[in-house]
């Protein structure tokens, strides 16, 4: 080790040398950490949905054959989508109900598209732990609120797919969708 303040040898004083070395050590370590972090990010990101999985992002559904009161199930991103053509009376009934005090307060109007108020489109996946609620098919239990019932942990949804009772924290999700025409829905 150089003796401190050995300016006679032509080197910088010891404390300045030390500061320079610390600087080099810290910048080298920092660059190393950035490189390792970037590499790790690439590794972790491979586990996110791949391009072909993302490419399945939209699907079109012809709903011309759906009768009033009927619910059909279609698949979007591997998840079931419930498409329900509601009776006018049912729409009016659900809209008469108080919604501000619900667990996840949303009015029925917010959950459908204007001008297509009879069509309820939902992701048929319970917001608790991902099971598929019953009530979309004839004869299945609809739960205490005449909508959907998840058998896994007992969540009850109303006719607008809003959570009313049980462990689920949120209403059944409404997927992004648009009416291409009156009988064609594009989901995604």
């Amino acid at each position: 080790m150089d003796s401190p303040n050995s300016s006679s040898t032509g080197h910088a004083p010891y404390d300045r040398q030390k500061a320079r070395r610390d600087f080099l050590t810290i910048t080298t370590a920092a660059m190393g950490a950035v490189a390792a972090g970037s590499a790790l990010w690439a590794v972790a990101d491979t586990m996110n949905p791949a391009a072909d999985t993302l490419a399945l992002a939209t699907t079109e559904v012809d709903v011309s054959s759906v009768a009033e009161g009927q619910t059909i199930t279609t698949v979007w991103r591997g998840k079931p989508i419930f498409i329900q053509r509601r009776l006018q009376a049912d729409v009016e009934k659900i809209r008469d109900e108080e919604w501000q005090t619900l667990r996840d307060p949303q009015s029925d109007e917010q959950r459908v598209q204007k001008g297509h108020d009879n069509w309820l489109v939902l992701i048929g996946v319970c917001t608790h732990l991902g099971c598929i609620p019953m009530g979309s098919k004839v004869g299945q239990p609809k739960g205490e609120f005449e909508g959907f019932f998840c058998p896994c942990h007992g969540s009850h949804y109303d006719a607008s797919g809003r959570i009313r009772k049980g462990p689920a924290p949120k209403n059944l999700e409404v997927p992004p969708y648009a009416f291409v025409s009156d009988t064609l829905i594009r989901i995604g």
């Binding site: 586990m47 791949a50 999985t53 698949v75 591997g78 732990l129 991902g130 598929i132 058998p151 896994c152």
Partner: protein, 422 residues
């Protein structure tokens, strides 16, 4: 130190001598498994560590054999398992051993953990040994869970869906995290592929951590039913032949029971929905995890009320997040057990009140197992909630505060004294 250095062994065989001079594995084996001093009063509960290790070996062996005939892709996985059962020579045996082996591995490990809790094996100087053990248990849970997904049955697919969806409870990052775990927007082929890769990898990670666990054990030496550390050579016996023979006998009895189940009741622990291929559009009416996860599943479901600021409608902790935190917390709490327990007495044999608290913990754990197996309604929910309450009260109230009031029984000065007294 619980054990001195072994006397330098002179090997007669020249090949052994040649190897040992360059790589002293024979010296090491004699030191750690030959003359290694075991407390002479260690009972059969001390055999379950070795039994668990044997089960790990059996699982790795049968697992590799199964992997040679298994296809990890969604259209083929279920059929490839059926082919193993029907067409592959002794495939049925390998699969039934592997399937029931998971259960018996957990039986051995649960007994091993109960032994540690009762006799205070987590206490100074074995805190790190205990912590490494908890890490092994967590790795085992992850491995078992991913293995259960591989037959791609209704139970597989929906078990994966429910358990991975737990992570959606975390605020902000939850949904992104679940998508990342799945590799898509639902449980599908990418999920199965990565679970197979990880199910193959993790047992070797477990083997590595088990090595560290055993290393730490051989630094401190084994605990014993008195909880009193050996004071002299009078308190110990060499591992071989005394405990090699005792452990071998225990292992044979355990494996006999195991193989009896494999041969005569291989499906006794399986649900009917495990025999239907996964249908992502239909959830079975009643899905439950394997029996060894039921207590933790019951803790998850015990939380049914949101916690929020009164009268504002602001929810601070939704029921779902509480359940997830409690479920993970119920095991994380084990990491802190060495410091939560303030009693200077290790063995519950000398703790007249704590003994019963531990019995109550075992009862509540079994009650949680029952509650977890039932549909989430009515009485089982209440049983699950009471048992969950006791579980946390035990670890967070009884364990730290009981030593202040409990009058412990006189602890023998040495192991030999305790053995003579009987």
């Amino acid at each position: 130190m619980a054990h001195g250095s072994a006397p330098k062994t002179e090997f007669k065989n020249p090949v052994v001598r040649w190897i040992d001079a360059r790589l002293p594995i024979f010296t090491m084996m004699i030191k750690e498994y030959g003359v290694f001093p075991m407390p002479k009063n260690a009972n059969y509960l001390w055999s379950f560590g070795g039994i668990a290790m044997t089960m790990l070996g059996i699982m790795i062996l049968t697992g590799i054999i199964l992997a040679m005939s298994y296809t990890p892709s969604t259209p083929d996985a279920f059929n490839s398992v059926e082919r193993i059962m029907r067409d592959v020579n002794y495939g049925w045996l390998m699969r039934y051993v592997h399937m029931n082996g998971a259960s018996f591995f957990f039986i051995a490990v649960y007994i091993h953990i109960c032994r540690g809790m009762f006799f205070g094996s987590y206490k100074q100087p074995r805190e790190l040994l205990w912590i490494i053990g908890v890490v092994i248990f967590l790795l085992m849970m992850a491995t078992a869970f991913m293995g259960y997904s591989l037959p791609w049955s209704q139970m597989s697919g929906w078990g994966v869906t429910v358990i991975t969806s737990l992570f959606s409870a975390f605020p902000l990052v939850g949904d992104g995290l679940v998508t990342w775990l799945w590799g898509g927007f639902s449980v599908d082929n990418p999920t199965l592929n990565r679970f197979f890769a990880l199910h193959f990898l993790l047992p070797f990670v477990i083997a590595g951590v088990v090595f560290i666990h055993v290393w730490a054990l051989h630094m401190t030496g084994s605990n014993n039913p008195t909880g009193v550390e050996p004071k002299s050579t009078k308190d110990t016996l060499p591992f071989n032949p005394y405990f090699t023979s005792k452990d071998s006998f225990a292992l044979v009895v355990f494996l006999t029971l195991f193989m009896a189940v494999v041969f005569f009741a291989p499906l006794s622990l399986v649900h009917a929905d495990h025999f239907k291929p996964f249908d992502p559009m239909v959830t079975p009416p009643h899905i439950v995890p394997e029996w060894y996860f039921l207590p933790f599943y019951a803790i998850l479901r015990a939380f049914t009320f949101d916690i929020g600021i009164p009268f504002t409608g602001i929810v601070v902790l939704p029921a779902k997040l509480q359940g997830v935190i409690a479920m993970f917390g119920s095991i994380v709490i084990w990491f802190f057990l060495p410091w939560l327990d303030r009693s200077p007495v290790k063995s519950a044999r000398f703790r007249p009140i704590y003994k019963w608290c531990l019995a109550a913990l075992l009862v509540s754990f079994c009650a949680l197992g029952y509650a977890g197996s039932q549909p989430a309604e009515g009485l089982p929910v209440i049983i699950g909630q009471i048992a969950t309450l006791y579980y946390f009260v035990h670890f967070l109230v009884i364990v730290p505060f009981l030593p202040r009031f409990e009058k412990t029984l006189p602890v023998p000065a040495t192991i030999s004294e305790d053995v003579k007294r009987k």
